[in-house]
Amino acid sequence: MRALTWQGKHDVRVETVPDPRIVNPRDAIIQVTATAICGSDLHLYDAVIPGVQPGDILGHEFMGRVVETGPGSTLKKGQRVVVPFTISCGACFFCAQGQFSACDNSNPVETQEASELLYGHAMSGLFGYSHLTGGYPGGQAEYVRVPFSDVGPIVIPDGIPDEQVLFLSDILPTGWMAAENAQIHPDDSVAVWGCGPVGLFAIQSALLMGAGQVIGIDHHPNRLRLARDLGARTIDYRHSHVLEALMEMTGGIGPDAVIDAVGMESHGFSPDNLLDAAKQKIGIGADRAHVLRMALTAVRKGGRVSVPGVYGGFADKFPLGALMQKGLQVRTGQTHVQKYTSELLQRIMEGQIDTTFLISHRLSLEEAAEGYRNFQENQNEWTKVVLTPG
């Protein structure tokens, strides 16, 4: 089959690789009909996430048609499914509590040790990501082997176009969980850093959950326009002092909740970010945590901090004082996708949520490398890339 493989920093290629086969009883093989490039794929593209190896097949946002099933799968050949990027067994202590991204049993034994060393515990397996999370071949390919297919994939009724449901695989539930983690009360003020796909879905979700005002922060005019179209107010950090603006826009109180939808690759020329960027460049500190620092400083006393943005390593100059002195609550984590897919599919089918507005480019799988390059270099215009194999 054809698949997009990681070869090194800023070097991804579509290559011919062996087709996947059923390996375990609960597996299914999916023929991919649509797949997307995620902002967190850019962390791999930029080689700032540890544990990626040449030849790894990328991609964790995908859907397709079931073409083969193991004896333990509950799927049927021919069904259309969206596959969560988190691989979860459904049986362990964590899955039983709905904490699917903390699954104990999906990260292979051989790759758990490094994750335990870095994080203290091994997290769940993820498609198309680091070997810290299993090194599972991803979905930017013609076919994917889906483990625990009786737990993860959600069956999509015929008649709903792929593009309306594809983002159930990651960014829509990630934006939803980000808003949920912000514990939004009616009429709250919520600030969202990053108007990329996750940030935009977090804005949409926060408004659906009853926020009074949502303020999107970015520097790309097109992305800020998309945020405004959803009903958010905006701050362009190139033109305005973010902390001052947020205080003024919230009556001097500060946002009740803040959402960091940027993660480990903050932009900007602030001194802390320049230092982080230098350290990231030479590999002695993986995360550029400028946005998280700013979010902790901006949020009101006793406020809530939600972090859907991906962090992989370590950060210093961390405002622990603000966290403690202001009595903040922080919630974060890889998304427990399986917990949200049914409800969000229902909301899509009822017309409450539209996911197609952020798709800017549609390419074939063979053009994936071009998609990565543009998604990384021209973030203003390239807001979301959907790839179609075959």
């Binding site: 333990g72 292979p108 758990q112």
Partner: protein, 204 residues
């Protein structure tokens, strides 16, 4: 500086270092006596000439179920994942095989304790290549979470510290093999399969 004075300084520094080391060791021993942490987590590498390692894993299953898995040779070989093998000889003799480089290591053991649902323990026979003791203990987990399965291994590495690090570098040190076996056991019991990122079966 005279030669005599140099020697006196060196002797003084050595004496101070020795005293500091003894103090630190005594302090560590005092600390050991005052806490409830499992013995193998002590801040030392040497336990009377043995290395000691282990891991506890909570498995959502009864002690009887887990014990039964461990006594099933076919299941055991899946749990050991190819790096470790176990075969039973007549009587209570068991031979463990570690797939090490440059040649596999075989260790003959006797099953010295077998309390169904509670404890299995093996001890290497006198003429074995490695002096080792392996224990699997099972106890009920709190909050109805199933069973706490604890693997515990004490061994004298061949060639001492160098042998220990050689095994560690190869990924064949008994502590690591124990941890991995327990995790595979948990996967098999809780999900019916052992997770792998391979897109093809390796066992054909």
């Amino acid at each position: 500086m005279s030669r005599q004075r140099e020697l006196a300084l060196i002797a003084g520094a050595a004496g101070l270092s020795l005293a500091a080391a003894m103090l630190l060791r005594r302090r560590a021993e005092d600390l050991r006596r005052s806490d409830d942490a499992p013995g193998r987590t002590a801040r030392r590498l040497d336990f009377g000439g043995y290395r000691v390692d282990g891991r506890t894993v909570t498995i959502s299953a009864s002690r009887a179920d887990i014990y039964a898995q461990w006594r099933d040779p076919a299941r055991l070989n899946r749990i050991f994942g190819g790096t470790l093998g176990l075969r039973q000889h007549p009587g209570d003799r068991f031979v463990w095989t570690i797939d090490a480089t440059p040649a596999p290591i075989e260790v003959e053991t006797r099953l010295v304790e077998d309390r169904p649902g509670e404890l299995l323990a093996w001890r290497s026979v006198d003429e074995a290549e490695i002096d080792v003791e392996i224990k699997l203990q099972l106890r009920d987990a709190p909050a109805a979470r199933g069973t706490e399965a604890e693997a515990h291994v004490a061994w004298r590495p061949r060639w001492g510290l160098a042998g220990h690090y050689a095994a560690w570098m190869q990924g064949t040190d008994p502590g690591r093999l124990c941890r991995q076996a327990l995790k595979r056991l948990k996967m098999l019991v809780e999900t019916g399969e052992i997770a792998t990122a391979d897109n093809e079966r390796r066992d054909g």
